[in-house]
Symmetry: C2
Subunit: 498 residues, 2 copies
Amino acid sequence: MTMARCPAYCRLERLFTRLTLIEQALGLLHWDMAAMMPPGGAASRGEQLATLKALAHELLTAAGVKPLLDAAVDEDLDDWQRANLREMRRDWMHAAMVPSRLVEDLSRAGSASETLWRKARPAGDFAAVAAPLAEVLRLTREMAEIKSQALGVPAYDALLDQYEPGGRAAAIDVVFDDLGAFLPGFLEQVLAKQTPPPPGPRGPFSIERQKALGLRMMAVLGFDFEHGRLDVSQHPFCGGTPDDVRITTRYDEGAFIKSLMGVLHETGHALYERGLPAAWRTQPVGRARGMSLHESQSLLMEMQACRSREFLSFAAPVIAEPFEAAGQPGWDADTLHAQIVRVTPDFIRVDADEVTYPAHVILRYRLEKALIGGEMQVADIPAAWNEGMVRLLGIRPPDDRRGCLQDIHWYDGAFGYFPTYTLGAMTAAQLFDAAARAVPDLPASIGRGDFRPLLGWLREAVHGQASRHTTDELLISATGRSLDPSVFKAHLRQRYLA
Amino acid sequence: MTMARCPAYCRLERLFTRLTLIEQALGLLHWDMAAMMPPGGAASRGEQLATLKALAHELLTAAGVKPLLDAAVDEDLDDWQRANLREMRRDWMHAAMVPSRLVEDLSRAGSASETLWRKARPAGDFAAVAAPLAEVLRLTREMAEIKSQALGVPAYDALLDQYEPGGRAAAIDVVFDDLGAFLPGFLEQVLAKQTPPPPGPRGPFSIERQKALGLRMMAVLGFDFEHGRLDVSQHPFCGGTPDDVRITTRYDEGAFIKSLMGVLHETGHALYERGLPAAWRTQPVGRARGMSLHESQSLLMEMQACRSREFLSFAAPVIAEPFEAAGQPGWDADTLHAQIVRVTPDFIRVDADEVTYPAHVILRYRLEKALIGGEMQVADIPAAWNEGMVRLLGIRPPDDRRGCLQDIHWYDGAFGYFPTYTLGAMTAAQLFDAAARAVPDLPASIGRGDFRPLLGWLREAVHGQASRHTTDELLISATGRSLDPSVFKAHLRQRYLA
């Protein structure tokens, strides 16, 4: 046996194959922790995860990697390999630029802050967590500064890049300012027009039947059960690996719509993962392209396709079937549709509807940008939060539990994540609009419960591209233009005012 | 922060903590593969497992480890640390002595042979798998020779040591010859005395109710559901980690007793894992002591405790309850007991009863010892197998499907494993006998469904010792003597001839 010649790029591919497989193992361990693990397994699972993460970090930041990255640039690579090398360098930069002392300090500070937050939130006691949050913020700003130097972008953008490769606050500002100016007046119009919905289905709805319905709908959307499962966890998510996609939901015997919508949402994520090119699986370029595009795939399925009146024509009898409720009042398509497009300004982001959700996100985005920029201090958060809620949604949280204590993100050190939710919602609208132009009679096929035309278009335009292009390039290629809030606004006008 | 002094032994502890945590992650990935994974996940799961195994192997066989092992010998260690160092060296020897070329060849040959075996077994076509099995044997003998040199023991013992640390064929020969001479005559007596059992419970038995019964019985034996689960897999096993023990079973709607006995068996394994000292978790000395002792813990629960007439007094109404069969004919303690102590010579090891099982094992042990020793060739297996069955059990397999093709072990390269089953059965009898002498009214407490006295004794005598002592030392300390087949024989006489 002779050793084939393997220059720098080739050796990097081998390294990243290994890293990807460790990441996949971590993905399964995380899924199990949320969906299967008995409570007593938590401590040792934490150690297992930390060990595998440390091993992957050591492999990626070993002394030999930078010379390989530098040497590979001068090798004869095709476009796909160049895109892969770009993603490799980005991974390496995020891992290697930050001193391990800072990584450990941040991890420790995040754990301490999160632990206190879990007590402070139900008590609405922001003061109890202000100091640990300030420490998390201080260390995050230190890390942002280092990555800012390495990437040559502003500090906030360097954090954003962890979740949204190439994301720029300057560009987000433009679309969020546009949307933020639009929403309050639009919301007023919707609330003025909206009438109380007719009474919907009455429970209880057994978990067994809800699960049967969820599985049925997953199959309708194109979920591949040879390569995935549906289970239960406290916080629904999509995990696992592209060849073994694990989605979860949560059931409430008193209401089934929220769980069902959650299943459709996670199925959108799952279809993206499953649609990534099989041959690229072990390389960074084969991964899903950032959080905003991932969220666009879940919201495209949930919000654009499945909350449409057309889908309900197909879905209403399918929904009624496991509950043996066909023909009963409240189970018709019009009533079910009225239930799922109801708009209600409220305090909690995760419970928000499609119209008010962006307001929650814009508020958090503006605050975290000011916190990272040093223009705002931790102590200022509660007042700024409540004022922002009044300005954007016209309601003032009665306490910090329903205000600035509701989300885990900051307390856990995740600054730069929030904007991806609404970037995803806007991207979903723009992609669905493009699909509707490209696919003949798309609403009609959805109205027949036939998702193959839509999925076929997504496979080609989005899933099959993986991380080969930047998010902006992908969007231009799929829709003809960069992110344009007017499409999302048109969708909202069409659904809620037409 | 200053770097604390960490001499060789201390650095080894850190290395083995890491290796243990990787092993734990592998354990969970294996459990998931058997109990949860959709079929399409198999290929990527294989890659994930191979990657983590390779990483662990590289860490253990790195150039710096041998000098640490050698230096640690001269350090000031206490007895516990010396025992830990002994186990570390054993791990290292098994991993580092065999050239990676041979490890890979064996892995490849085993996979090829196993794949062919899966087709050859149902067809009863030994010839189709003889050549690949011969290749596995050739490579296994090569490996055995290398380990034999390193350990200073005969080749077969070096293989045995992989599963049964310190196991010696010379010692096994003595007890197996004794038992092998006893069994044929004893079996004849049992069959002469045995009358057809009264009709037992009639199905179908719903899986849901069988599962409820299994969970109830696990709780009776002392299974800790804060630290474990019961799930389904094709081949029942006990996996996971000591803090998160995952046992599985398989249900048949036409019969519940086999599944229930399987649950009790795996619960015995689980109690052992869970009883290992928490503070020793991440070190080799904290592991369960070899396969024969592990099997002794499952068989002690299943065979010694739960197939006893005393246990059935308690269990019969508990068993009837989920099936709403209390008081119905066939569900009384005497009838249920008659069902589970039935002796029937048959061809298949995994279906064998307590009396005939050792004959299956002794046959395999003698053949594999001859194969490793070079006194027998692969082509001789079918004839030798069938003659052995006649000699030991008085029946001749009508084909190789029900003969030498039935077990995966050899085809997968696992030579040296078989004897641990019957060593475990004998050890179980000897430990249970000792427990009955030490614990007042042990049968009476089992007859009340109170397993705390038995478990308390096992925790102290077996579980809490982990790998601190050799198997022989542990047995002497717990029972006053080395393995003595007369205790097992007395148990059989008592149960089947009294």
